[in-house]
């Protein structure tokens, strides 16, 4: 099925925004101005964007500690995200969550998550809400190959199947759980794991937006049409370390360089868009320029934004005491 | 037993009471006491009330300790002459305990005295229907935010001579919570429907506070059903009302706040304990209870004033009417009594607040009994 021009432009912009956001964080983090720690999504943009291009605002996603890409793909405000990462009062979480807890429920974004394997059970609940409230929504759990070994994830695959939920489990397999290779830590295959629960399985190349988009469309349609949960296995490469400051001594010297050269989802998108005359490349250049401006203003605004105050410390622990 | 020895026992305030707590002794052993003097404070789940000595003499022995919760009829202490020896008193206590252990029973009547819920038109009303006798029946109508237990110290006394019915108004107590537009007219109609359902063509009506206004509305709308009116600090006669106190009575959700709100009802603040406040809160917290009261409040006490004027009904009344009002009433000012027409028999009670029937029980009951008796004779 042909992807609309509008969807292609929007998706390219989202991928470019993620790339620019993360590259800028990489630089800014090195200056010491960003508190805490951040986990960058560079190289994996097509996964978040290819999946979310098939979702509506009322569909729900749950993300991971590497969550900036999912947030941007689901429509969370970039300026608010940047301010949050800088710990400012104007952040989407008012400076109380930080990089690992960015959430915007009004956008169906159930949160990045500091706990590996935290998302899949939550997504069973979000899918249950869609089912009970009969709003035709689906719920999508993004989780890594590392989280695929968590009991919570395996329990969720079972529960979603038992309850026949409109849920999609997207395994973002970048080959590493922190510094430990998936080839060491994951027994069997993701495909066999899905089969073990009687769950349909799909896989795709995560550096190819079009491949992710089409596989995700099939997976999401399946779940939305009431046929139960699906697993989508996305093969990815991580361009930076587990967290910023990780020297990646566990990776071969050329691994990342090769990935950047051969598996850049933005480059492959431009190539195919040009070859198949899907879009005018100058339109994409314009997007690149606009995104650069947007990120620059987001950083400047974040740096100038006010810090949270003492009254914020006790606010919002409870709805009501 | 020796005629000069008298047992002080846990009193029974209303038939529903099975036990009470001896809150405190007012007198110490050795103090002289006259019949009718208060010797102790007794606390039930509903109210704290003074316990009056049934005899004169000397408080010789406190058998029960302050703080103890005891069944009705349990021995609290002994009043006797100075001449009675300590041995005689100890023997009396021993024999008293033995006697009560043998008695038991005697509660057969109590079962029928429990309130029951009956369907009256669109309402389910919680009704306590006690007493039989030659006299015409009496209907007791409690006030805003109250319930039938407001008459706990009166109903059984009056029921010695006639049938006496107390009920929870719609929106109150254990009755259903639909109050329509919350007007006195709707509430009076419910009271009238109740009389019909109980097969009572005519009744003496006692109304307290808002219940007084309902009683007047009954007379206005169903004159044939009303034999006499006993109005206790009734609403509907003046404009003024303590609106803040009414609001607190509805909205308070903490024991200490409700206790404070209830204390506005009485002159002697010590009558209202935490347990009484807790009991009112149990009723308030039922789904729909506060909404019902807010509806009534809006209909009857809008903008901080009484919005119902039943003075013309009282002025025109051609049946016996008596009026009770505490001079220290903090909810509805006693001016309402002072301005009442001459044909009304008025009892203004000094040092008493908004609830004379609870605060001045003995006198109130005596005066009401006399009023009803006279009305029966005249009829």
């Amino acid at each position: 099925m042909q992807i609309s021009r509008e969807t292609l432009l929007r998706s390219y912009r989202a991928m470019r925004t993620i790339r620019a956001f993360e590259e800028r964080l990489h630089r800014e983090f090195a200056t010491g101005e960003i508190p805490g720690f951040v986990h960058l999504y560079c190289g994996e943009e097509a996964s978040a964007v290819g999946v979310c291009a098939n979702l509506t605002e009322q569909d729900t996603i749950a993300s991971t500690h590497r969550g900036h890409g999912h947030c941007i793909a689901k429509g969370v405000d970039v300026g608010g995200m940047m301010a949050e990462i800088y710990g400012r009062k104007t952040g989407v979480c008012r400076g109380k969550g930080g990089s690992m807890h960015i959430a915007d429920l009004s956008k169906g974004m159930l949160g990045a998550n500091g706990i590996v394997g935290g998302g899949p059970p939550l997504i069973c609940g979000a899918a249950l809400s869609h089912k009970v409230l009969k709003d035709n929504g689906v719920a999508v759990a993004f989780y890594g190959d590392g989280a695929s070994n968590e009991g919570t994830t395996l329990e969720s695959l079972n529960l979603a199947t038992v309850w026949h939920l409109p849920a999609v489990f997207v395994v973002e397999d970048n080959g590493y759980g922190e510094a430990t290779g998936a080839s060491y830590a994951c027994a069997g295959t993701q495909k066999d794991r899905a089969a073990g629960f009687g769950m349909p399985y799909m896989e795709c190349d995560g550096s190819d937006f079009f491949a992710v988009h089409d596989a995700a469309r099939d997976a999401i349609d399946h779940a939305r049409s009431g046929k139960g949960p699906v697993m989508l296995h996305v093969h990815l490469q991580r361009w930076y370390g587990h967290f910023e400051g990780d020297a990646m001594s566990y990776r071969a010297p050329n691994e990342v360089a090769d990935a950047k050269k051969d598996h850049d989802c933005l480059e492959s998108f431009r190539e195919r868009a040009g070859q198949e005359k899907l879009l005018d490349l100058s339109a994409l250049d314009e997007i690149d320029a606009a995104v650069a401006d947007e990120i620059e203003s987001a950083v400047q605004a974040a740096k100038q934004a006010p810090w949270p105050e003492e009254a914020d410390l006790m606010a919002d622990v409870y709805v009501k005491i | 037993m020796t005629k000069n020895l008298t047992a002080l026992t846990m009193p029974k305030f209303g038939l529903a009471m099975t036990e009470g707590k001896l809150a405190s002794w007012t007198l110490s052993p050795g103090d002289a006491v006259r019949e009718g003097d208060e010797v102790a404070d007794i606390e039930t789940s509903k109210i704290t009330s003074g316990y009056e000595s049934p005899a004169s003499g000397i408080l010789r022995k406190q058998v029960a300790q302050a703080g103890e919760t005891l069944p009705v009829g349990a021995l609290l202490g002994v009043v006797a002459d100075a001449e009675a020896s300590d041995e005689e008193i100890d023997a009396f206590i021993a024999s008293f305990t033995a006697d009560t252990a043998e008695e038991g029973g005697g509660e057969a009547e109590a079962a029928n005295a429990d309130p029951r819920v009956i369907t009256v038109g669109e309402h389910s009303l919680n009704v306590r229907d006690v007493g039989r006798g030659a006299g015409a029946p009496v209907l007791l109508i409690h006030g805003f935010g109250g319930d039938l237990s407001n008459w706990m110290l009166n109903q059984d006394v009056l029921a010695r001579h006639q049938r006496v019915i107390a009920f929870d108004l719609p929106g109150h107590g254990a009755s259903s919570k639909d109050v329509g537009d919350g007007s006195v007219t709707v509430l009076a109609e419910a009271a009238y429907e109740l009389l019909k359902a109980l097969d009572i063509p005519k009744a003496h009506i006692l109304g307290h506070s808002l219940g007084g206004a309902i009683a007047l509305a009954l007379l206005r709308d169903y004159p044939d059903a009303v034999l006499t009116l006993t109005l206790v600090a009734p609403a509907g006669l003046e404009r003024e009302v303590n609106a803040e106190s009414l609001r607190e009575m509805v909205e308070a959700d903490r024991t200490r706040d409700m206790q404070k709100a209830l204390q506005a009802l009485v002159h002697d603040k010590s009558l209202v304990g935490r347990r009484m406040a807790d009991n009112v809160l149990r009723v308030r917290r039922l789904d729909g209870a506060r909404e019902a009261l807010r509806t009534i409040e809006a209909a009857c006490f809008a903008n901080g004033q009484q919005s119902i004027d039943l003075r013309p009904v009282l002025d025109a009344a051609r049946i016996p009417v008596t009026l009770f009002w505490g001079e220290e009433d903090e909810v509805l000012p006693v001016a309402g009594a002072k301005n009442a027409p001459d044909h009304v028999v008025k009892h203004l009670l000094p040092q008493i607040g908004h609830m004379p029937q609870l605060e001045k029980t003995v006198e109130f009951n005596r005066l009401v009994e006399a009023f009803l008796e006279k009305a029966q004779v005249t009829a």
């Binding site: 749950a62 952040g91 989407v92 979480c93 008012r94 109380k96 969550g97 807890h101 959430a103 915007d104 429920l105 159930l110 949160g111 998550n113 500091g114 706990i115 935290g118 899949p120 059970p121 939550l122 997504i123 069973c124 609940g125 979000a126 249950l128 809400s129 009970v132 409230l133 719920a139 009991g151 919570t152 329990e155 969720s156 079972n158 529960l159 038992v162 606010a315 919002d316 622990v317 409870y318 709805v319 009501k320 005491i321 | 300790q65 302050a66 703080g67 103890e68 919760t69 959700d253 903490r254 024991t255 200490r256 935490r274 347990r275 807790d278 149990r282 917290r285 039922l286 789904d287 729909g288």
Partner: protein, 342 residues
């Protein structure tokens, strides 16, 4: 109004709230009990103690969800459902099983609102049985309310009677924050007058079940009944006690505790949970900080020893607080040389 058991009170609260609000759903192991069984009877059990019996029949499978024995997934699902529009009541069966799903409670549900800058509501109730006295041994007998009370973002309810249980559970379901609702397994057959109508009891408002002048006894959950028994015995001996049931360990009604201690000058705390860092410690600290001057004697705690809950009856009896131990503690406090209080 009629007499109802603790079990019936909870069933009625769930039923009335499910009728009132279509977003209330139940989930848990055997909340119906019978899905997939060979008898074909789906509403077979109503939980191991029959508390949720009949609810599947009335509300159907979309709202009464039997779960696999898979606490992490369904407690997490309850948190996710609460954040996205439902009001789930999840049953954890024995609170000891929180070991299998603490992350979903502690790191997820409890923290959403704060982490997300006040933009989340998580109206979740987790019901679970707690307490010793049933020979259920170390993994099925703990009183873990201090564990939950420790976690900001949670409210913790420990009802002491059927009346309390119904009103507090309805309040919990209507509350917009995650609530842990702990039911003492020994109390399910306790009976008292419970209104037929729905009603609520606010959180953070202590209940005084006895009022006295000499000693304040703070007791939690099942301990309230034992404290009442001790207070009634002590009253006959001339010692009058206030018995205070906090109802919720968070929010805690600090004001009423302090007022009662100011009135009586003596404090005994009865807590069924393990003695280190339990509510008795917490309340002792509160009083030491804010009412030290009112104390006529040292605070006494009636708590179990720092051991797992033992199985064998004589050992379990030794382990548990009871009315005798409370009575002895109160007398000991009364015997303490009275300090001069300015």
């Amino acid at each position: 109004m009629s007499k109802k058991s603790f079990r019936q009170a909870i069933n009625e609260a769930l039923r009335q709230e499910m009728r009132r609000d279509p977003t209330v759903v139940l989930m848990g192991e055997d909340v119906a009990g019978g899905q997939g069984g060979s008898s074909g009877v789906k509403d077979a059990w109503g939980g191991v103690l029959g508390v949720t019996k009949g609810l599947l029949t009335e509300f159907g499978e979309s709202r009464v969800l039997d779960t696999p024995i898979s606490e992490a997934s369904y407690i997490g699902a309850a948190a996710g459902a609460a954040a996205t529009g439902l009001r789930p009541v999840a049953e954890l069966m024995f609170v000891d099983f929180v070991g299998c799903c603490l992350d979903q409670i502690m790191n997820q549900a409890a923290k959403f609102r704060y982490m997300f800058g006040g933009k989340a509501r998580t109206p979740l109730v987790i019901r679970a049985m707690y307490g010793a006295g049933f020979n259920a041994a170390a993994q099925h007998s703990q009183a873990l309310y201090p564990l939950f009370t420790h976690i900001p973002g949670l409210k913790v309810v420990v009802p002491s009677s059927p009346y309390e249980a119904k009103g507090l559970l309805i309040e919990a379901i209507r509350d917009d924050d995650p609530v842990i609702f702990l039911e003492n397994k020994v109390m399910y057959d306790d009976i008292e007058e419970v209104p037929d109508e729905a009603y609520t009891i606010p959180f953070g408002e202590a209940n005084l079940t006895r009022e006295g002048d000499d000693v304040t006894i703070v007791a939690i959950g099942r301990m309230v009944g034992m404290a009442n028994e001790a207070a009634d015995r002590l009253a006959k001996q001339g010692i009058s006690c206030t018995v205070l049931d906090p109802r919720t360990t968070f929010p805690l009604d600090e004001q009423t505790i302090l007022e009662c201690v100011e009135d009586t000058g003596r404090l005994v705390i009865v807590d069924e949970s393990s003695p280190r860092c339990n509510m008795a410690c917490d309340i002792s600290a509160l009083v030491a900080e804010q009412a030290f001057g009112a104390l006529k004697a040292p605070i006494r705690r009636v708590v179990p020893p720092h051991t797992p809950v033992p199985f064998s009856t004589p050992l379990e009896n030794l382990y548990m607080p009871n009315a005798d131990k409370i009575e002895a503690a109160v007398k000991a406090v009364m015997m303490q040389k009275t300090r001069e209080v300015a």
